[in-house]
Symmetry: D3
Subunit: 325 residues, 6 copies
């Protein structure tokens, strides 16, 4: 079966195959192993790994459920007027290699896997996994692009130093590590939606000292989404920017299936508007993390995750010329 | 046991029978078969049928769960200051006849059943079922009233033409059919809350060409509910108007039990305010559709559906003089 | 193991013991029986009792699930800049004595138990149970403080007179009884978030005649939270004030686990903002009631309840000098 | 609509109305209020009341869910070769009157209600409710028949004396009360399936002293169902006998929706065989109790309850000549 | 990536990729489209279609959930001492073409699809879908093999004639149609596990008159599995035989996720023993049907389905020489 | 509050405090930190840790849910005629120290913690956690008792060597490690209930070569529980013996909340009979592992776990003279 690339990289048509039918891939796109990914522009990758989770594990099952619910996505985004599959060749690259029993080794393996993706010129759009998975993605992207800017939608800063007396790699520490390793530029790190209790008043000090820009939910509520996003866009500027969307930035009513829920979060429409306001930025990759199916077997959280991935996909598709097909 | 009509058509009193007790009927109203419905003003009808569903079926079970949760409704609406049962004789007319294995035949049977209801001068308030059930209701009402205006709260326009290479009757096509059949006046069709991806940029073209008025969730969010509803009221005017409330207009957090959830939807309070702003219009019927219990066994979605039906019941009750009892 | 008081009354450290580990106590605080509670400032008490529930029971299981989910709370409230455990000695006092088969006797027993707490100078923060549990708390506090003011976040006024032909003590009647008994000052009773249908237009008449201040959800929506809370603060003034938070003031999407859900309620962030605006008032106790785990086994409702308790704990901690340790 | 009795008392035909359609009544039978129940042989009654529950309430919701799941029942029992609706006129008599806030008064009201049923010559088949509901049924039947024999399928003997220091009426005490009141003959009381821990070795002493026949699950497992049921049939003899089926006699895997689950119980097939072996006995009534929907929203327990009710209905139908129609 | 066939047709190794990782395919086998299926011996096919369901739909989602849960399967069956993937080249052929809005047309399309599979010499192992999907499989197999024998594990005979006044194709009628069409030999049709109520005593008459062999659950319980299976094996003999496993043959405790549950069914171990006793027969295909995920989001039913498919796969693998690779 | 030891170590009385009230501890026993555990005979310990889980994590939450459900346990075991709290002083020792981010370090910490328990002469009864937690318990006990015998109820042998290319410590490897380390005597290791697929025919070879005694579910089914347990008792003899009960030995219908479910398992009654047949053996400790609440929020699995712990507690209590109080 030889397909033209333009067909090869299109989602299964829902005019022919009902949405609940067929193998579950991201956005109903074809599954293409990395080694077969010719002319691919955007590769969607699952990272089924939650070994950095300090409380309620389960995000390792995220990619499967996000794939399942992403069957509800369609091809055209009317609010943005973007048809992403006409702008970019897209595919499901399958899951990245992981070992649930090994933290440091898996981080290294993921770094290597994403480096291969990046080297092929593919823009990665990833589905976690807990938030620690973003660290190796940043490492791989920074190898090519240098220290990155990042916009992070999240209830938590994930800038803590360590857990349980010395554990350095956890889902609450990735961006401390990323800044220390020089792959993330703290002056171009914008965090939006922070809320919930902290361990102590000093929790935010380290990040602030590095120059990280933090917007609490209270500040967003007071100043409004437009004002905050104007700030964010200004801070991030034209530099290479990564987008990380922790599903727990949403209120638990919209995303109950996550490990560290905090009440008082965003509505999905707020999240959509914030992400859409990143249009035109210089985006080099994105992820949606912390979808944890065991805490939401019905999949509402995964639907939110899949939809946010489609929003991000539309933006990423605009950021690159379509590979010749 | 001979009751005066005024008693005959009252809900079971919660001062005497606890809400969880007794048979489950809509609003705890008496169950009255159509042939026994003398002096009935408003008949609440279940349509347990979802054979038009292209993806996740289940709305066939909607009427039972809506009945169950409607036991939480009371008799007086303080925000509207309406006591509907003092304005109109109301009853549960039971379920309309359906065959899950037969689409066209069931549509014909439903048309006939609703024609009988309309001929008796009863205003129908219905609980679906998937959205295809609105088509035969419109047919029956249009026989009496001529082409109808309609306000549709929905994430989807349901104006598609066909599915799977030729299937014309599906829950995504009822209003295309209704316009083609002349029972729905496209210039008096207002759709509010549209969102989510589309198959292509052309999806909305047919409706727009017919004169359908579409308000996306983004437009509602930007302009505000009051402005949009003012437009809607102006467009619909004094003509005969039907109200169809697809439960998926609500965000999936508020209505997880539905077949085609789209994140970024209305809150219930927004929906209540929009419906209440229809007060004083010339309403000839209403429905709430797409409540799908298998995707929400706990019944939160059905509670939302039952409450919206009570809101609509209050409006319908004001639209007609109480039958002499 | 002899601890200094300052250590004795601290939550278990999540740096050492993961949040999911250890016995479930409120806020991970030590469990201290009342008779051993020396120098205790704030005692958190469970009231596992729902015998006043007229429809869907289950709130008897509330305290256990709230304890479980409160493990997600931390020590510092960044939005308020309060570290409650530095301001006050806090402990889990266990559950109050209850008999599910006996209403009046249990109310008497609870009154006695809370009187003992109050006599020891401990500020009670309670987790219900259905709303009837607030009555004995008010009785105990009024013995010391005289008739109390109260702010009530609730979908229902709970001012009804009786149920089922003569039952006077039910979860819809506590504040009628409290006003009749003289333990609650109706002129200093503020109710916020009322909504849903009523039995008749007269339902609110008694309360209004007593001078109760009622703010419906529609009024809050129209005037805004700041305006309403300014009114509330002015009405309550500097007098002794109790805070009761019925979890059903939240929309059922945020709090599905409750006995009498009403759509169209508050978001958690709205609730947080309202509670925070009580800062600086003269608070003598607080509770969160009507969390009903059987209707939300996943615990999202209990998480909301636990978080609101932490919000209230921060306010209560500011209201008293820390006991010398 | 005048029906011949034979039609009046038939279940809705599933050849015409799908099982999920129509109002939920027991076995899809017509709902006939007691005062309209002419020539009725067997009346199926719901008792939505669980105020005797000492731990996990919820059985008040049992009748509704049993009605819902009983739509899966059909008209003919092939293993017994019985068509119950040809042998007896059957109807759903609705729910008995209850007050969740009042124990003794409700027991009196239920006694009165069942007395009226019995006086009309109707054999009652009931759906609880917790096990305390059987006490008033026995009282009513004993008024007519004298002290009854009873076979009880149950994990617990329900012969305890009191709870919480003096509460005499609870779901663990009905048969102590029934024996004390003289409505139950302890020498003709057979209890099958007892298991689980006890409070003390003396728990069974009172019952044994009265002559109650107890068969533990271990004895049933060792001797086999046939041997045990042969004993039971011999003990009960030809006297008037009542059958009470506590759903917790089944293992929790088959009946998770119950208040006091005990592992190690019967399979449904074992239960069916035991009940069927009662064929030919002199049965005057039966019930299925302790189905608690909040602990099984999916309804598997209620399905088991509905099926056991159909088994019992077949036996009861054989016990009486069909009323002339 | 060129694989040797032997590698090409092996499941993903769980030594390398954790079970929860990677795309969900049947048994973790490679997904191979039919047109690329060279040297394939056994093709596993999903049929996501439940348009023949007369009551509770949902089996359309069965193939996805069975794929998901089949990740728990391993490569070697110790009780049978069979390594199926060493005996036969196996693959996931994806889902067969279906249209949820069209019954007869879909049956024709499925017949065609399975005919293509059979023509390629591939033994089909299928996952439904409701039981109507077996009809087109039998048609396709009978084209090659002539009228087939069949062993059916099921609570229901599925030999009814029609539903709702004339609907001939439903999940309760496939084997009536198959016998009428001559693709199923009624004298070699063995049905095991029949139970539950019937519409009338005549329900079984047609099948018996055709020579169908029916074993009720009661007969299996009385005579034992070995005796029944000895009969079955004798009846089926050496002729071409198809195996159809309706998941509702299991008790609902083991398989709650199905449309027509009947209590009193088999345990999984009984089912495994029955299926294993078919070893050595002349099997030409098999299926597992009626897994309905909406009624069991947790997937226990799908796990049972996946395991029974692995049992069947082992038997099918022994029935054919491995294609030269 | 000074209690006599006999009172200090008794469960909370359900005559006074309802089962759903009070803090959740194992069996409603007092929580006594290890350093305060004077004269304690049996210490119940939670091990909230699942970092050895290769597929579906969640057992870290096991101890909390087992504590919750153990409130349903009572004081006297009628089938064994044992009142364990009269034979031995028992307490809840809280949770052992764990770090979810660290495998080897946690195993060392657990070994140390259990060594302290054993040194104090306390018999440990533990609730996992995944099965890897048994390794450090065995290490601690073997320090005192030498290489232990063990009876293991389990679907899996847990004798694999490594996972994912080199990970030696996983929940599938503890007993390989224990044998290699010399803390477990393979000739006195009895495994009962093994079933499900294997990776290869060689999977069992290592264990068999060491002399491990394995009884598959098929062998148990064929020979009967009595015969198998007679073998087990003979093999284990009078030596020091540990009992480990993996909840997945039960069929998933009885224990859905576990990480590696395998259909075709034991019923709870079978498990109870097997455990009871260990009466009189020389037992030095026991555990119940692999209860995973996220896969069974309702807690049926935890109830089975709690009940099996009570069964084991009765046996352990008989194995030691009560500490002088």
């Amino acid at each position: 079966m030889t397909l033209k690339n333009s067909e090869k990289y299109l989602p299964l048509s829902s005019d022919i195959v009902p949405r609940y039918a067929g193998l579950a891939t991201f956005m109903r796109l074809p599954h293409v192993p990395l080694e077969a990914a010719e002319n691919l522009d955007i590769g969607i990758v699952g990272i089924p790994w939650d070994s950095g989770t300090t409380n309620r594990a389960g995000a390792r099952h995220g990619p499967r459920q996000v794939r399942e619910m992403s069957a509800l996505m369609r091809r055209y985004h009317p609010a943005l007027d973007i048809s992403p599959y006409e702008l970019a060749n897209c595919a499901d690259l399958g899951d990245a290699p992981v070992n649930p029993l090994e933290i440091v080794g898996t981080l290294d393996g993921l770094t290597e896997h994403y480096s291969a993706i990046v080297q092929r010129g593919i823009t990665p759009l990833s589905a976690g996994g807990d938030h620690l998975v973003t660290l190796p993605i940043l490492r791989a992207l920074a190898k090519k692009h240098g220290p990155l800017g990042m916009i992070q939608f999240d209830a938590h800063s994930d800038l803590w130093d360590e857990y349980f007396g010395g554990s350095k790699y956890a889902h609450g520490t990735p961006f401390r590590r990323a800044i220390e390793e020089g792959v993330l530029d703290p002056n171009r790190l914008v965090q939006i939606g922070l809320r919930g209790g902290l361990y102590s008043p000093e929790d935010n000090a380290w990040g602030v000292a590095q120059g990280v820009h933090q917007f609490s939910i209270e500040e967003v509520d007071e100043r409004g989404i437009s004002a905050i996003m104007a700030d964010a866009v200004r801070i991030l500027g034209n530099g290479k920017t990564y987008v990380t969307f922790d599903i727990d930035c949403l209120d638990p009513a919209f995303a109950p299936g996550t490990g560290t829920p905090e009440i008082g979060g965003f509505t999905p429409l707020q999240a959509q508007k914030m992400v859409r306001s990143l249009r035109g930025m210089n985006l080099v990759g994105a992820d949606v993390v912390e979808v944890s199916p065991p805490f939401d077997p019905g999949g509402r959280t995964a639907l939110a995750g899949a939809t946010m991935m489609f929003e991000l996909l539309c933006l990423l598709a605009e950021c690159r010329p379509k590979s010749s097909a």
